[in-house]
Symmetry: D2
Subunit: 354 residues, 4 copies
C-alpha cells in the first residue's frame, strides 16, 4: 500500500436534532446526519419509539449511540444544538417552529412556511398562527435562491414536487424561453411521498399495478410552485398541477408543458438549463428522456432536461422524493447555513441502484 499523506484536520462538529425521526423523511434525515463527517446527530424525537436506540431502529451505524426522545422534549433539547430539523406535519411545525427558532436554527420540512399567510386556509386548512416567522422564512432551494443567510431563523425546505417543478421551469421562464401564462405540470410520485400509511389504498395489493391522479387542482404544491416561480417571471405564472401516484417506493418525476416563446429551440432550452446548473453539485442536466427515476434513486441529485416539441417546451425533472425532495435538500441547506461545504456528507453516498 503506497504511503501517502492524507489531510489531517481539526474541526468543530455541528450538532443536529431531528423532530419526528421515525417517519420516512425524518429517518433519512437521521441517517444523513449520523453519517455526516462534520455533524453529529444529537437528538431524535419519536413518541412511538421513545427510549429505543436510534441506530437499531433506523439501521444506522452502531456509532450512533443516542436513544429516541419524546416530542415534548424538543424545545428543551433544541437549546443545545446548532440546527433542528422538523419532519413533522404542517400544523405541528407551525406550532413548534416559533418556540424552537428562538433558541436555534430551524429547517422545516413541512409546508408550514412555504406560502403566504393568506394561502393557508385554502391549501392547508388552517389559519397560520406564526405569521412573523413565516414572513422571514427562507425558501431553501439553493440552486435557485442560494444559501440561507446567516441571520435567518427558519429555512422552509421545499416540497418534493415543487423542487422538481421549479428546477425545470425557473431557468426557462427567467431566460424568456417559456411563457409563464399557463404551465401544465404533470407529476408522478412513488408511494413513500405519502409517508407511512396504514391504509388499504396504499397496501401492496392495491398499489402494485395501479396508477391514478390525485388532488387534481387542489394539491398544496401548486401554489408553492406558482409563488416561487414568480421570482423568475414578470408576472405570476398560472400553474395547473396534477400529481399522480405510481407504483414506486421512491422517486418523483415531473413533466412540465410550457408555451414556447418565439425563438425557443431545443438547443436554447437546453442551454438555459446548462447555464443555470453548470456549477451545481446536485442538479445535472440530461436529455429530456434521460431524466429517470433510477438516475437519482438514493442520491441527493436532481436531473433536469428540456426540449421543444410541436411548439411547446417539454421539461422533465426527476429526484428521489426522500432525498433532494426532502432530506438531502434539508442537509444541503444545513451545510450552507452552517458554512460547511455544500456537499459535506452528501458526496460519498454510493448509489443504491440497482
Amino acid at each position: 500500500m503506497a504511503a501517502r499523506a492524507r489531510l489531517s484536520y481539526t474541526t468543530s462538529v455541528g450538532k443536529v436534532g431531528i423532530v419526528g425521526a421515525t417517519g420516512y423523511t425524518g429517518a433519512v434525515c437521521a441517517a444523513l446526519a449520523a453519517s455526516h463527517p462534520e455533524l453529529e446527530l444529537a437528538f431524535a424525537t419519536s413518541d412511538k419509539a421513545a427510549g429505543e436506540p436510534v441506530a437499531a431502529r433506523l439501521g444506522l451505524s452502531n456509532r450512533c449511540k443516542i436513544h429516541f426522545s419524546r416530542h415534548e422534549d424538543a424545545e428543551k433539547l433544541a437549546a443545545s444544538v446548532d440546527v433542528v430539523l422538523l419532519a413533522t406535519t404542517a400544523e405541528q411545525s407551525m406550532a413548534l417552529a416559533p418556540k424552537l427558532a428562538s433558541k436555534t436554527r430551524v429547517v422545516d420540512l413541512s409546508g408550514a412556511f412555504r406560502l403566504e399567510a393568506g394561502a393557508y386556509p385554502k391549501w392547508y386548512g388552517f389559519d397560520h398562527g406564526a405569521k412573523d416567522l413565516l414572513e422571514r422564512a427562507w425558501y431553501g432551494l439553493p440552486e435557485l435562491f442560494g444559501a440561507p443567510p446567516p441571520d435567518a431563523r427558519l429555512v422552509a425546505n421545499p416540497g418534493c414536487y415543487a423542487t422538481a417543478a421549479l428546477l425545470a421551469i425557473a431557468p426557462l421562464v427567467r431566460d424568456g424561453l417559456a411563457s409563464p401564462d399557463h404551465v401544465f405540470v404533470d407529476g408522478k410520485s412513488g408511494a413513500s411521498g405519502a409517508g407511512r400509511r396504514s391504509d388499504e389504498a396504499y397496501s401492496f395489493v392495491e398499489l402494485a399495478e395501479e396508477m391514478r391522479a390525485y388532488k387534481v387542482g387542489s394539491h398544496q404544491h401548486a401554489p408553492e410552485i406558482a409563488r416561487h416561480a414568480t421570482r423568475f417571471a414578470k408576472t405570476a405564472p398560472k400553474i395547473t398541477f396534477v400529481p399522480h401516484l405510481v407504483p414506486l417506493r421512491r422517486g418523483l418525476l415531473v413533466t412540465a408543458y410550457l408555451s414556447a416563446r418565439p425563438g425557443a429551440t431545443s438547443e436554447s432550452v437546453r442551454a438555459s438549463l446548462a447555464s443555470a446548473y453548470g456549477a451545481s453539485a446536485f442538479v445535472r442536466v440530461a436529455e429530456v428522456e434521460g431524466v429517470t427515476a433510477h438516475g437519482v434513486a438514493g442520491t441527493p441529485l436532481a436531473l433536469v432536461g428540456a426540449t421543444v416539441a410541436d411548439g411547446a417546451i417539454v421539461a422533465t425533472s426527476a429526484l428521489d422524493n426522500l432525498m433532494k425532495g426532502a432530506a438531502s435538500q434539508a442537509m444541503q441547506n444545513v451545510n450552507l447555513w452552517l458554512g460547511l461545504p455544500e456537499t459535506a456528507g452528501l458526496d460519498s453516498l454510493p448509489r443504491f441502484a440497482p
Copy 2:
C-alpha cells in the same frame, strides 16, 4: 336447484384467424377468441411456436385443439375464415393486409392503417405501399366512430394511447368546452405496451422503481390522435404528446390538459362525457381521480373523467393496454362487423384484480 328455462338457440359460429399469436397482444386476442361463445379460433400463426398446441402455450382451455401455423400460411388460411386479426408489426401488416383483405375481413392491430399515407415516412419510417387499402381503412374506435360498415375490407384497430386520449378529448372538443388549439397529452404505460422484450432496459432490475419519458415529440400515436380528433373539432388540433414508461405490467393512463372555453365547468365537462358514453358498454365515466389502472385491469373497459382546474380542463382516461388498448377493442370491432352483440365474449370476464 330451481328448474328454470334458459334460452335455447341455434346460431352460426364465426371463424377467426390470428397472425402473430404469441406476442402479448396476439395471445390475448387468441384467448378472447377461444373463449368467445359465438366465435371459434380457427388458426393462429407463430413462427417460433409453429406446430405447438395453442392451448398449452397460451394457457387456454383444452377445448382449443389447434396447433400454431406458420406466418407464411396466413394467406392460404385466411380464405376459410370470417375475419383475420393481424398482431404484427406495422411493416408486416402493410405487406400482408392487401393479400388477406382480398379474401376476408381484416382487423389490423398495428399502426399501418391509422394515418394518412403522407405521414408514414416521418412517423413510421417507411413509405406506405398499400395506399388503396389505407384510404378505405375504417378506424375502429366504436364509441366515437360506430361499427365498421359491412362492406369495409379492413379495420385499423386504434393505438392504445390514441384510444385513451381520443375517448377523453373528443367529446370535450365536439361540445365546444375545450379549445383544440393546443392539447397536452401526458401518457403513462406499463411495460407490456412495448411487447415482448429481450432488452436489458426492460429487465425487472432496470424497470422496477423506474419511470421515464420516451419518444418525446416523436411517438407515432401523436399524429394518430391529432388526425382522428379533427373529426370533432373545426380545425386540426395541435397535440403535444409525451408518453412515459412506468413499472406496471399492464395498464395505461392518459392525463390530458386542454384550454377551457368560456362557460366550461366541472359539471359541463362531466356532462359532456356522460352524454357521449352513457349508452356505451365499455366506456364508463368516473371522477377524474377515480380513473385508475386497477379499475380497468384485465377488462375490456375504459374509464374517463374530467374536471376544470385553474382555467384548464384536466381529463383522465385509463384502459388496459392489452384489452381496450388492443385485443378487446379488436374483438369489439369483430363483433360489430359480424353483426354479433358488441359485448359478446367480453361481458363475462371476471375481473382479475386484485
Copy 3:
C-alpha cells in the same frame, strides 16, 4: 360466417349466495358466480357495502343486477338458494355455518371446518362450537378426495397452502416414493393471501422489495396438511411448514422437501404425479422448474412437479391463492356437488397474464 348448428339446451340454473363478498376471496367468488353459465349470483352480503350495486363495486358485467345485502340477512336469504359460500373469518363461519347448513348447502372458505375439533384451541385460538357439523364436514379437494357426496351438508374448502402442499405430497407418499416421516414445506405467498389490509406492514413501501418468513411453526395450515395427508400415508406425517411473504399480489408456490424411499427416481416421482392428475381438469404436471406463479395467475389451475435431488425428493406446486387456493376451488366444489360439469364456468377464463 359459416352457418353451423350449435347445441341448443334447456337447463335449470342454480342459485348461489355469498357471505362476505367484498373481501378479496369473496369478490372473486362473486365474479365467478356472476359469469357462470349454469349459476346465478342470487345474493351477496357485505356490511360495508350494503345497498350498493354489486356489479359496479366488483367490476362485474352489468347483467348482475343485485345489491349487497347485510350479513345479518344471510340466514334468511340462504333458504332460497342452492348453495351458500362463506368467505368469512373462521370464527364467523363456525357461528354461521350450522344455521345455514340446516337450510341449504354450505361451502366454507375459512378454516373453521378443516381440522379435528381438538386442534382448534391451539391453531385457531377458540373452542369449536359446532362439533357435529365439523365431524360431518367434507374436505373439498376434489383431485384427492373426489366430489362432495350429495348428502353432505358442508364442504370445507381447503386452505391455499394446504391445497398446494397436498397436491404435491399426497401421490408421492401414497405411492411409497417418499417417506412421511418428516416433510419440510416451504411456502411463498403473495400479499392478497393476507386479505385486505389497512396495515403499514402490508403497505406498498414496506412490502415491495421485501420478503420474510412468518408464523414459523405456528401457521394453521400445517396441521391441515398433516391431517389430510394422513389418508395417503400409513402413519401421520410430520410436517414442518414455514410460510413466507413475497412481493406478489397473487400467487403461491410451495416447495416441499421429502425423504426419498429406495427406488424413487426423478422418473418415478414424475410418473406418480402424472398418474394422479392425468385425468384432472385443473391440476397439470410440469417440470419442477416449470411450476411458476405466472403459469397459474388468474386461472383455476394448479401446477405440480417433482424431482429427486441429492437423495431427497423436491416437489413444487403453484396456484393462484385467490383461485385454486380459494374461489375457483370453491366453485369446483359447487359444480361437483350440484352435479354440474366440474369445469363449468371455469374453463373459458382467458388467462390474465400477458
Copy 4:
C-alpha cells in the same frame, strides 16, 4: 457550532482496481471503493464503457476522475495497485487470476476459486486450469473463517447463497445442535443476482408477479455450502439446495431446515447464533421472522435467526445479494487483508430503505 477537536490522522491510501466494473456487482464494488475513506479507486475496466468517465456512468461522486479501461489492460494496471477485485465470470476469473496474483492481491467475486478442483467439471462445466492458485485460495467469509492471512495471494469471495446459508448453518452444526446429515436449504433471490440480462425471461413483464424454482439440484452454490460447512461438522453434510427467483431487485433470503439434535431448543439455537456473531460488525441475530430483506437492503449486513419447530431447526438468513452477498463482503475482505478496520468505508452507509 460547538468547537470540538476531531481526530487528526495521517495515513496511507490503498489503491483498488476493479475488473468488470459495469456489471451490477462490479459497479457496487466501484461505488464502495470510490467512497471509501482509506482507499482509492485506481482503475476500473469495462470493454463496453471503455473511455467513459466512471463517475458519470456509475453515478459516483465527481471526485472520482478516472475513465474506464479495457479488460486487456488489467494485467498491466494490476502492478500498481494494492488489490484487484474480479467481478468477472468464473471462466474469466480462472484465466485472469493467476496472471494478476503474481503482481498483487486478488479478490475474486466469481465461483472460480471456491470449490475443489475436481468439482469444476460438474458444477461449472470446465476443467480448472489454475489448480495451484485454487489450492491456496482463501475462502473469504470473515465471520466464520477470519481475516485473509497476509501472505495469501487470492481471496475467493463467497457466493451470495453460500454466505447466507453458511452463516445460518455453521454455528448450529458446530455447536452440535443440528445434525449435518441432511440439510434442506430453500433460497429466494431477487433478480439482480442473475446479473444484467437482455433476456425476455428476466423482463419486467415476465418477472413481476412471478416466482419459480430454478437449477434444482444443480446450482453451483450447493457444493460450495457443503464444502465449507464441513469445517464445522464431523462429516461432510448433505445439502439439498433449491434456489428460487422472486420479484425483488435486490435481496436474498435463505430458509434452512435441519434435523434438531436432542436437547436443541429455540433458546439454545438462538444462543448459538448470538455467541457466534455477538462481536460481529456485520452479522446481526434477530428473531427467525425478523430476518427480512428490508432489514438488509443496501447495507453490508446479514441477519440470521433460528428456532425449533416440530422437531426441526428452522434457520433464516437474509442479506443484500450485491452487498454482503458480493461487493461489501469483498470490501470487508480487502479491509481485513490490508490491515484496515473491518468496517472502514462500510459503516457510514445510510440505509437506502424505504
